[in-house]
Chain length 224, copies 6
């Protein structure tokens, strides 16, 4: 089995971090192809970034879909995921949807820890898209932008506030750039902490083995 | 006052029909610039069409924003509207959002009449995005695709079913290509019928006169 | 075009303030008739005030409907608006509904700033009536009643708290008596701020020009 | 104990029917005072009827509140009930709210059987006001107005359709004029059937015995 | 009339307290049979406690149903109530559901005061089961477990915070063990305060007098 | 890796069918222990069946938890799952929750095909518990009970109706007894069809590999 992971941005460092997490989970069971998106911004922060990443993401799908069994979109906002589900017959999983839905199976409420305060309203919109607003107890972000994701203590402190003040029972890392911080938070706080990359691979691997994919009977069928 | 209407597809005929409706509403009060989207598909039907229209739409915004006072996106699915709201300081209004929200001020429940059965699930997703699911009594579409929008009787019959069977009190035309059919349905059925192009212009004209636009204090501010 | 603005209370000073805001927006495009409600309380604060204003409001509709093109109800709680929509064939717009729905087109979340803490629960009920509870991030009111609406600094401070602490992206003035304070808040805080009187006029003017009004096919038809 | 039942309309026949049902339930435990509303319409069907009944209803409250222990509003639309809760310190119960909330304790879903098709949208609005939209499986009404409530077979047939087609597990009589038809439907169809008059008396009697009433700490306190 | 009150735990002291509250409300109107649950835990705090109480609770139903007219489940989490509704033809009322639904008739928002912080998420789940999440303004619990319910001042302070900070208009006692504290809080804070035992008896007594019970037409019929 | 699958009923034939599906999915990757529940009813159809299965289910957890890595509850109603999540530190997955949540990642709306009409209301309650009511387009069940699950054509026909009339894009098998029918329906109708047993194993296997389990920081911690 081979799974394509699309990093919707073009940052080689983040691509490498995602690949590392993915390979760690994949082990010997499947192969991972992890690609940055050609022509995409260095970091996906804005709605325009989502849109700017689309052509490159769709190009990656076309380039790789014959040789892979499933596709993971590795940006927590799940940009352009409906278009990708529509254009390919292979299973497609977004790290935002996968991580937030798995979170709901592990605790009563979850909190998303993310990198910038400006992402809080869009993250709440995304949670409502997935009908999770009653279970998302908070979105926690630093006061000033921390998109470099390097300050582990900062995100650990945000997760602690989510648990202690918002009664979060599960922490979801709200940015692919935070990949790898899950185990640190889980160990320090004793709270299940979810990296979306791993969560999406769980679903993607399972869908491939099961032999099911996006429905083509109506709304995701481009030929209908 | 001058308002840019972006037709997210590249069809000259539909662009002309939209322009005609818009000019009819604008009268002497404001000028309309109605542009098809360069590089966009001939008709916006799929999620991939939405994405494919984005670069051209954003280019139109950049080309015209200095010389217009507001921007209307004239596809009922409101494609790429968050990105456009984010990139410009001018007011931006989508015909889907405007028509469905105005519908809720005119009756208890509304129905969207659209051109293809495959659009029903995405239209319901869109209504939920705007928190209108309790007020959207139905989406009515022909069994086979009617994207050319030429068969007036077909859409009139769908609207009649919406009123009689679904208890719709307002009809919303769910495709910019149906522009101009509002008055026919309204007269034949005696039910208020909304063309999104006009609805969006109502809001856009008003916002310009009022001097308010998209908030830049947080989630729509690309520089935050 | 001529639009009747019903001030549901009987206060001449507030009627004058509303008229001033309305005339400022109307310019040369339409004429405004702004009337206090005969027999109504001096200020609409309670549910009983709503009810006490009804006979006078309906009388105003009867007296003026032949000579006006639309009717605006200028109290943010939208009192008796369903009855008015039902009794006249002219378009009817409430300043509460218009301002809160327009707010949702300008930002992710909005806050209502109002005059008395006791109004917070009813305002939340009203937002739920319009299905806006997920978008109303807070209702901000002073600890002690400030129905005279004279302390601009007080309301400016409430709006600032809404932006900074509640992440409001849009401010809605929750009382017709606050009319005129929109521009002050908008300038000081850089956040779009909506006066319901103007918002309702935007919709009302548009509906008149468009030639649509309240649906009479079912629930708002008194003869059905 | 003495409970005032306000019939919001002025029809002596319906007042008598309500009184009869109420006395049947009250037995020796409490006394019932059942009053038609002076100045109200003969039948409450429209939003304007609601408003027209208000002054007489509030007058009845003032006239009787010293000599009664609780107040029931006996129109299924619960007209003006917030104003009444606010103006008196005695418990106030509406037959619509009481019957629909008790219905949710007796089955998974309930249907409201009412007298006119035009009432369907307002009834759905009312159910949403009480957050019951997921439990209200249908509102069933005859095609032509049957406000005289005399055709028992008609309403029995509607209830049967609700059970068989809509999977209603409980029937709620959606009009005070249907009072007394509960036992007929319950016996013929074997489905619990609720007359709002009795339901409201259950709550009202209980609140009086318990010694609790409408909260005056905030939103229902006219002096706040 | 005779009503069986099942205390789902096996604590004789709490059983006695519940009986005392119940008898105080029942007066001469009906007889109360209040039973602890054989084989149940001493206190119902966890999901496993719910499950462990089930066999004994169902046994009590079988032992007593011939000689009683209704059954009340006296644990605020309403454990196993659907199974009990299903197995008996007698009316069944849970103290959680009854108290929270009656609370919504007395004020705009209510707060549940309970004994342990760990109960907050399950209590919110329960409120959502009853579609009350928009009306539940908070769940207040002490930082450390207070299941013995002996510290009246502690719960009084929690209720005060609910009123002052969360704008609760009604207080619901979230544990049968708090029975009897309702009048203290109501007097000290002037806020209606509901003991679920009394609330459930209000409904149960009423249903018996009315002659309605759980629907057996579909989902609660074990023979269907 | 070894996963315990608890069949909450005591039917050896259904246990065998579940085991067969599970082993087919597990392949060489993990071992499956599939156990019927001692003391449980032959088939889980009612709320009382849920409760009757609890002691045996919890006993199985105690007997096996040391030697397995995760636990799957193989009844589509997810009976007693919160108690099991609470009592063990191993990951616990219900086939109902897993299948319905995975369904939402494969299409816009899904339909549950189940064995008895009486299960429709409880299934809708379950979907609301998981906040999926907007995505569950229908529950389809035969008019007369078909709990033996032997009539493949019957369930195929129900699935076809769900796709054609309800616009379901995904089919979820609403009973563990239907295990194995997924591929038949998927091939005949071309619609992704989900067997909950496989779906739960996807999640369970993934959680084990990832090293996360039910949160013990608050509501699922029996010692809190």
């Amino acid at each position: 089995m081979r799974i394509l992971i699309i990093n919707p941005n073009s940052d080689p460092k983040m691509t490498e971090a995602i690949r590392k997490s993915a390979v760690g989970f994949a082990g010997e069971r499947f192969e991972v192809v992890c690609e940055p998106t050609p022509g995409a911004p260095r970091f996906i922060e804005t709605y325009e970034d989502d849109v700017a990443a689309a052509p490159g993401m769709l190009q990656l799908v076309k380039d790789f879909e014959q040789e892979v069994d499933a596709i993971v979109v590795a940006c927590h906002g799940d940009p352009n995921i409906d278009a990708i589900k529509e254009t390919t017959t292979k299973p497609v999983v977004g790290i935002g949807e996968a991580s937030m839905k798995i979170a709901t199976m592990l605790g009563h409420g979850f909190s998303v820890v993310t990198t910038a305060k400006r992402s809080i309203p869009p993250k709440e919109v995304q949670a409502r898209k997935y009908h999770l607003q009653n279970l998302l107890v908070s979105v926690r972000a630093p006061d000033s932008d921390a998109s470099d994701c390097e300050n582990e203590q900062l995100f650990l402190d945000l997760a602690r506030l989510a648990v202690e003040q918002d009664l979060a029972e599960v922490i979801v890392l709200g940015c692919a750039g935070l990949t790898g911080m899950d185990k640190l938070i889980q160990e320090k706080l004793g709270v299940p902490t979810l990296d979306g990359v791993v969560c999406a691979l769980i679903i993607a691997e399972g869908l491939v083995r099961y032999g099911v994919s996006t429905s083509k009977v109506l709304g995701f069928n481009p030929e209908w």
